[in-house]
């Protein structure tokens, strides 16, 4: 019952927000009027460096959520509250990540969304946990994050285990692959995803005929691709970012390697198609969650984002948006922004976000994570299918 | 003092590519002697020095010093055995003080190690103080004590030569090898140098001297060996060497007629 009610509420909020968006688009709004309580939400992502565009995208998502909450007018414990976003640059560097985390704790933020990378999220999570501040990441995919035994860690994004399983499921069932080659870029992301994919694919009866490695700075993949060609796989799963995946696909075709190309969320970008050129046609990528168009309010969000920032969503903005919303929802249910009071409510969340229905398992991962597969047709990623992963995978040691 | 020679060089050969820099050179140096090594440019004098002090490995032949064979290719061991040297073109530690230069010379004779250096044990402190005192004393000995705290590179040419000698003496050698110490010195400085070398010998250190200044060599050395194209022409007291026909031909020839 209450579930239905909340659903309606958020849908109404979305519509309201859409209407009121142009009116209150400024994030540096005037200081809170007297009587208003300020709720500080910390947001951390690399805002400079090679991943700045992704970090900025995350920030945009958070800003949209904050503005929407403020325009909706939330009251907690009888006081009207105002949400403020404190956005910090963690440079995708573990060291800077902890510095930023410390800063949030110093400033007594009520909650944190982020960080973007697993490498920063994990060391920072300890600091939040020590301070009892809830943390919701919308993009860190490393399973370890939620497996450290902290009560404050949540994630509104399918982790590597989920995504690896979904990709493997797609490869073995939908594409009926018997032989698979894997390349990973030896980053925490690439290697983590590749390992989960491998486990799941082997469990599903496929044979891994080649496993090769590259780096996140490489441009020449011909040696490893030639080796892969010798094993003649049905599918090549390339576990890396778009900057490597695009050129690698192109080089694979030059060598006459005909395997179907599969890449994770790091390659599910327009950039990948640009770099791979014609070779991208017909190849597949995966992205956690359900396509925005299929979600209630999703298309609206997409349009709003485009209207406001005059660009397409890069990758994780909707997830970060949901992260903020889930946090605010928990505060409302607890009727308090005090971390100790609303933290239990976060774990009990049943929130219909723009990316998924958000419910957490015991560790803080999505209990019903979904992963969608897309295919390049005519230079755009087109939705193919959504794979529900039934249950969170068992913890890696 | 035993009658055994201090240094026995026997049948040393050394070639660089096709050039035979030393051909079967054998010389003997007695204890307490000032021994001159002369020869025209490229005669192999410095090569012999470098073989002797362990910078080069001779192709064949051997050195016996103080009744023990010298280890080749280990300059630090040579120093420990008691041979010290200076260089033809002065090689000081330019950015260290003069005093520190001399203290470095004591290196092989000190017993403290990293651990005692870090802990500053009483032994270490005593040794450091002693090292400093000895270095200062040596600088006084060669007559440049007043420049102890100047950087080596700021010393005058003559003082740098003296500093190099002090540094070599600091290794507590039995044999001091000087490679053209008078090069570039004026008559005054040369006279001072001569005096210094004689004092050193008087203090019981043998000296092996490479020098171009024939007058200095003939006046100073007890015995002289002459090298030409890597070959030993003769080895005798200056008076005899000066009369040797091949020496006159090979080396003194032009000078004698001038």
């Amino acid at each position: 019952m209450s579930l239905h009610k909340r659903h309606t509420l958020s849908a109404t909020a979305l519509i309201l927000a859409t209407l009121g968006l142009t009116a209150c688009g400024n994030k540096d709004a005037a200081p809170a009027a007297s009587g208003e309580v300020t709720i500080k939400i910390g947001h951390a992502a690399p805002l400079t460096g090679p991943q700045a565009h992704l970090g900025k995208d995350n920030e945009n998502g958070a800003v949209m959520a904050i503005d929407e909450l403020n325009s909706r007018g939330v009251t907690l414990g009888g006081n009207k509250v105002k949400f403020v976003l404190i956005s910090e640059d963690d440079q995708a560097d573990p060291k800077a990540g902890t510095t930023v985390a410390q800063k949030f704790v110093d400033q007594k933020v009520n909650g944190v969304v982020g960080h973007l990378n697993s490498g920063t999220t994990i060391p920072a999570s300890r600091i939040y946990s020590d301070a009892g501040i809830p943390q919701i990441s919308g993009s860190a995919t490393n399973p370890t994050y939620t497996q450290q035994g902290f009560k404050t860690t949540f994630r509104v994004f399918a982790n590597d285990v989920h995504q690896g399983q979904a990709l493997a499921q797609f490869a073995t069932q939908s594409l009926k692959a018997k032989t698979i080659a894997i390349v990973d870029d030896r980053t925490a992301y690439g290697q983590g995803l590749a390992d989960e994919f491998k486990k799941a694919a082997e469990a599903a009866g496929a044979r891994i005929v080649a496993q090769e490695f590259t780096t996140d700075k490489a441009t020449d993949f011909k040696a490893i691709l030639t080796k892969i060609k010798a094993s003649n796989p049905d599918i090549l799963f390339f576990s890396a970012m778009d900057a490597q995946g695009g050129p690698a696909l192109k080089q694979a075709r030059e060598l006459g390697l005909k395997a179907t190309f599969l890449i994770g969320d790091g390659g599910c970008t327009p950039e990948f198609i640009k770099l791979a050129g014609n070779a991208a046609e017909g190849q597949y990528c995966s992205l956690p969650g359900v396509p925005l168009e299929k979600m209630p309010g999703g298309t609206v969000f997409k349009e709003k984002y485009k209207q406001r920032y005059n660009q397409q969503i890069q990758l994780y903005a909707p997830y970060v948006y949901d992260a903020v919303m889930v946090m605010a929802d928990a505060m409302q249910r607890a009727n308090s922004a005090d971390p100790t009071k609303y933290l239990p409510e976060v774990s009990k969340a049943q929130y219909q976000g723009v990316t998924a229905k958000i419910e957490f398992d015991a560790k803080g991962d999505l209990s019903v994570p979904a992963v969608s597969i897309y295919q390049d047709k005519g230079g755009d990623w087109n939705f193919v299918e959504t794979l529900g992963v039934t249950a969170a995978a068992p913890a890696k040691k | 003092m035993t009658t055994q020679p201090l240094l026995l060089v026997s049948h040393v050969c050394k070639a660089f590519g096709g050039v035979q820099a030393l051909k079967d050179v054998s010389i003997t140096l007695k204890r307490g002697e000032i021994y001159g090594l002369i020869g025209p440019n490229g005669a192999g004098k410095t090569t012999l020095f470098n073989c002797l002090t362990g910078l080069y490995v001779p192709d064949s032949g051997q050195f016996v010093f103080d009744d023990k064979p010298l280890v080749c290719n280990a300059p630090d061991k040579t120093v420990r055995q008691g041979i010290a040297r200076t260089f033809q073109n002065i090689r000081l530690f330019a950015n260290m003080t003069a005093l520190e230069n001399v203290m470095v010379g004591r290196h092989a004779r000190l017993r403290s190690n990293v651990l005692s250096d870090i802990l500053r044990t009483p032994f270490n402190r005593r040794e450091e103080q002693a090292t400093k005192d000895q270095a200062l004393q040596l600088m006084r000995y060669v007559g440049i004590a007043h420049r102890a705290h100047d950087l080596a590179k700021h010393l005058s040419y003559g003082d740098q030569r003296r500093l190099e000698v002090a540094r070599a003496l600091a290794t507590h050698p039995k044999l001091l090898c000087l490679d053209e110490p008078a090069a570039g010195m004026n008559a005054n400085e040369t006279a001072g140098l001569r005096q210094l070398i004689e004092t050193i010998r008087a203090d019981g250190i043998s000296v092996l001297l490479i020098e171009h200044d024939v007058q200095l060599v003939m006046g100073l050395c007890d015995r002289v060996a002459v090298l030409d194209y890597g070959e030993l022409i003769c080895e005798d007291i200056p008076a005899v060497v000066q009369q040797h026909p091949r020496v006159i031909e090979a080396y003194l020839g032009s000078g004698a007629h001038a």
């Binding site: 400079t48 640059d89 994990i122 | 630090d76 004779r109 250096d117 006084r140």
Partner: protein, 377 residues
């Protein structure tokens, strides 16, 4: 800087005046109260930054032994930091289920890092400065690549995922990760770490100072100045060079261990080539071979980027209404420029060792002839 120099001179000069011990007391009080002042006025963020700065001071002093003292350009220095950090991570984390105490791991980390220093040094002994630079760079990368890949076939380092849930620094049951109750007051975790790092840094400074003015320090300087002459002075250049690598690596290992205990997470990305270059910048810009200069370099290069973060973007925003250059790139750009300019105009760094003053000792003034000193050994 001039004031700092004067202050320093006062610290050094034992027979200066009563100001001597006053200066020490002032410095001591300053260092002891620093975390409280900073914590109170700027927040724990800056305290954390200060802790990292202390780690970099240790690293820079370690590299200074190799580069500044012995004149061996090592561009893979961060590898030793990595060795120390990973050793701690492996021996005090759930990775192997080991939880060794500090007094066991830290010396072991130092020793293993020192051993790696020797291993790296041994094949490179005969190389000239510039070759040495490239070979050490290669060694550093090789170590990083191995750390990144040693998760299969046997999982040792956990690969690119890094090792998390590392034990914090603890003494018995007292963990520095939690506030420590001292009875009269509570010591916040970051302050406790500050004191620990300060003690470690002071210890390393003391060791570096003592090494500099010792038998081995002179030997290093001699090698740096002229290797052939050093040999002719009876210095076993091979051993002395290896010793420099080992000592430098040891400091790196200690700093690495403390880093792992402090951060409680290590992954190979913290030990890239850029970090080596960074530490080298600290040594070179501060003043190669001059300990106070190197400390200054380390502090400057850890603190300045943080100021940049707070200033560069907002400043551009207000000036141009747009951020043209993000602080991270600006920082690297300035480092590059600084390296070129410093080499050209101040090759001995921002704070080089003062020109050795001529201390004319009374004893020295007498130019009387002396006897050849008698050798005690």
């Amino acid at each position: 800087m001039k004031m700092a120099g004067r202050f320093l001179a006062r610290l050094r000069n034992p027979n200066g005046s009563s100001m001597h011990w006053v200066a020490w007391v002032v410095l001591g009080v300053l260092l002891a109260t620093m975390p409280w002042i900073i914590g109170a006025s700027f927040g724990n963020t800056w305290l954390r930054i200060l802790n990292f700065a202390l780690l970099y001071v240790m690293l820079a002093l370690g590299l200074n032994i190799v580069v500044g003292f012995a004149g061996l350009l090592d561009m893979g220095y961060i590898a030793f930091y990595a060795v120390g950090a990973y050793l701690w991570a492996l021996l005090a984390s759930p990775q192997f289920g080991l939880h060794w105490p500090l007094w066991a791991i830290l010396p072991l980390g130092a020793a293993v890092a020192g051993l790696f220093g020797v291993l790296l040094g041994a094949p490179t002994l005969k190389l000239r400065g510039d070759y040495l630079a490239i070979v050490t760079l290669g060694f550093g990368e090789i170590i990083r690549i191995f750390l990144n890949n040693l998760n299969a076939p046997v999982n040792i380092t956990n690969g690119p995922q890094g090792i998390s849930a590392i034990d914090p620094v603890h003494f018995g049951s007292v963990s520095l990760a939690r506030p420590i109750d001292l009875g009269f007051t509570t010591l916040p975790s970051l302050v406790a770490y500050y004191y620990l790092f300060l003690v470690a840094a002071l210890l390393i400074i003391a060791i570096a100072l003592r090494l500099e003015s010792s038998r081995v320090g002179r030997a290093w300087a001699a090698i740096r100045e002229d290797e052939v002459a050093a040999k002719a002075c009876g210095i076993n250049t091979r051993n002395v060079k290896l010793l420099a690598f080992a000592m430098g690596a040891t400091f790196g290992g200690v700093a690495g261990g403390l880093f792992a205990g402090f951060q409680q997470f290590v992954s190979p990305e913290s030990f890239g080539l850029l970090e080596s270059v960074m530490v080298l910048c600290m040594v070179v810009l501060g003043g190669m071979g001059h300990i106070p200069g190197v400390i200054l370099g380390a502090l400057l290069l850890t603190l300045l980027p943080e100021f940049f973060r707070h200033i560069a973007a907002p400043l551009q925003q207000s000036l141009f209404g747009k951020v043209f250059v993000d602080p991270e790139s600006l920082r690297m750009l300035l480092f590059g420029l600084a390296l070129v300019l410093v080499m050209r105009y101040r090759p001995s760094g921002l704070w080089p060792s003062p020109q050795r003053r001529r201390e004319i000792d009374d004893v020295l003034n007498t130019d009387a002839p002396a006897d050849l000193p008698v050798n005690p050994t």
